[in-house]
Amino acid sequence: MSQYVPADFAPPVSIQRMRNISLIVGVSFSALAGIGAYQKLDLFLHSWLFAFMFWLGLTLGSLALLMLQYVSGGNWGRLGRRIWEAAAGNWWLMLLCWVPIALGMKLIYPWAHMTHDEAVKSLGADKVNIYLNHDWFIYRGIIYFAGWALLYFFLKNWSKKEEAGQTTPAKFVLVQNVSGFGIVFYAASITFASIDWTMSLYPQWWSTVWGMQTMVGQVLTTFCFTICLLVKLAQVEPVNRVFKTHHLHDFGKLMFTFVVLWAYLSFSQWIIIWSGNMLSEIRWYLMRLAHGWQYFGTALIFVHFVFPFALLLSRNLKRHGRRVVLIALLVLFMRLVDLFWLTAPNFYPGTSAGLNDFHLMDAAMYVVCPIAMGGIWLFLFYWRLGQRSLMPVNDPGFAEMMEAKHG
């Protein structure tokens, strides 16, 4: 047992304020999204899918990091653990948000819109009968969510037991083993889920790096979010007693790693398809490199990769709270741009249409939906975060972490 008790790290009152603001924003923007859905259902569903992929990324990225830090250890994991537990607990909100997508799939996915014969003709009988059909889209979605929920419940119960002092360091190996298995399940389920939910927006096209790219995007989103929140929380008690400059440095390095990994995977996909120059593959990029979409793609190269990469090389910058937060916010925004560029062009497929068909109403919905979903998401997140101690005081490595770094 450590010399600390959970009450030493009770959440600050500012969390309540953030929770209430989130609720107000979430409810009012949800009303706007509802009006949008009434006006133009297909547009609502398209922007809803975009918002869903972003907030699902934060939920599952948190679940993945929660499992990863049990396996790898490290102080960064102890600092982020309660945040990721609270975020992964939003799995059921994401399930609710997925329901409109499952119900409205005919308005989102071309393969769901086609008749069976058309789909077989366009995609091949095997693809349609075994994978891309209405029933299996729903069954698979339920399997993913069930798996994520099981992992979340196991990790939450473990964490509650640990907080109550009912575990021993020797039993810690159990949660590590389950996490190891969980990471494998996460990788497998995201690979399939990303095929179902985003890649199949253009069912004739495929990319084998897609699932990996989705995973890296999710974890990068989570690191950026965690950095912003930890730096904010560290301004006051009790997190300021734990979160030190060298921890910020560690998080900065992790964000840097994932910025590079994102660029590596995105570029791999591009160079393979560009080199092959096959009609079936290159169309996906041609659609995104014309009619105004090319500006988003170019912005991704420079603002999602080159700019944060160059700045995060600096050691001093990574140890400067406000600057790291500014970069994290920028990358969070670029995560949205990336998801927009990957999904939205599929909905404006005309040969000369592109952004010409993207009207004010379209732009408004692509802003309103992420904020509506995000407000509710953050409300539940802060509500859950405010229930418990912010630090895992009974973790086997916690006392060691709290020992003054020499001097």
Binding site: H246, F267, W270, I271, W274, S275, N277, L313, R315, A404, K405, H406, G407
Partner: protein, 178 residues
């Protein structure tokens, strides 16, 4: 009192916390020419005596830039100038294809520059160093932590510096013969 010029005064500590405490105080007191010796890397000790701000980072960046430019120019010159070959109907100067090699050359340039820069800046290899004249110094590779304030420091006065170091209750203070 010894009349031979000495290298410095060496204080021996039991743990890293005491060492960092003393090193910080020495830096605050105005000592600059000093060094810490520990059995394993103690980053805070390096920070305490202000050695983190060196030029190795800049040398690494320059190496990376040179590698990047060199790698790209090599490919450009080979594929577009000296020996143009039509590959899949693509332009001779196909920049996307050059990126992976450009990146690898930047990494190569950065690693070579940082290793060479590190060796040049820290003065290795160094066959002779006065601190090894002290028999107790063998503890630095086992379980002891040392702070050596060098005699070349403008603030160094043998008796005053000794008194200053005694204030931190080290296990031992020795003069390091040059």
């Amino acid at each position: 009192m010894s009349t031979t010029p000495i290298y410095g005064l060496m204080a021996e500590f039991d743990g890293p916390t005491e060492l960092v405490h003393a090193a910080k105080a020495a830096y605050d007191a105005g000592y600059r020419k000093m060094d810490t010796y520990t059995p394993y890397p103690v980053e805070e000790a390096a920070e305490a005596i202000g050695v983190h701000h060196n030029r190795v980072a800049l040398i690494t960046l320059i190496g990376a830039m040179l590698g990047m430019i060199g790698g790209y120019m090599l490919q450009f010159w080979v594929s577009a100038v000296d020996y143009p070959v039509n590959v899949g109907g693509k332009p001779f100067h196909s920049w996307p294809a050059f990126i992976p090699v450009t990146f690898e050359c930047a990494v190569l340039g950065a690693s070579i520059a940082s290793v060479l820069g590190m060796l040049i800046m820290n003065g290795l290899p160094q066959p002779y160093h006065p601190v090894f004249n002290l028999p107790r110094f063998a503890g630095a590779s086992r379980d002891k932590f040392f702070l050596c304030i060098e005699a070349q420091d403008p603030k160094f006065r043998l008796s005053e510096t000794r008194k200053f170091l005694e204030g931190f209750h080290p296990d031992d203070i020795s003069e390091v013969p040059n």
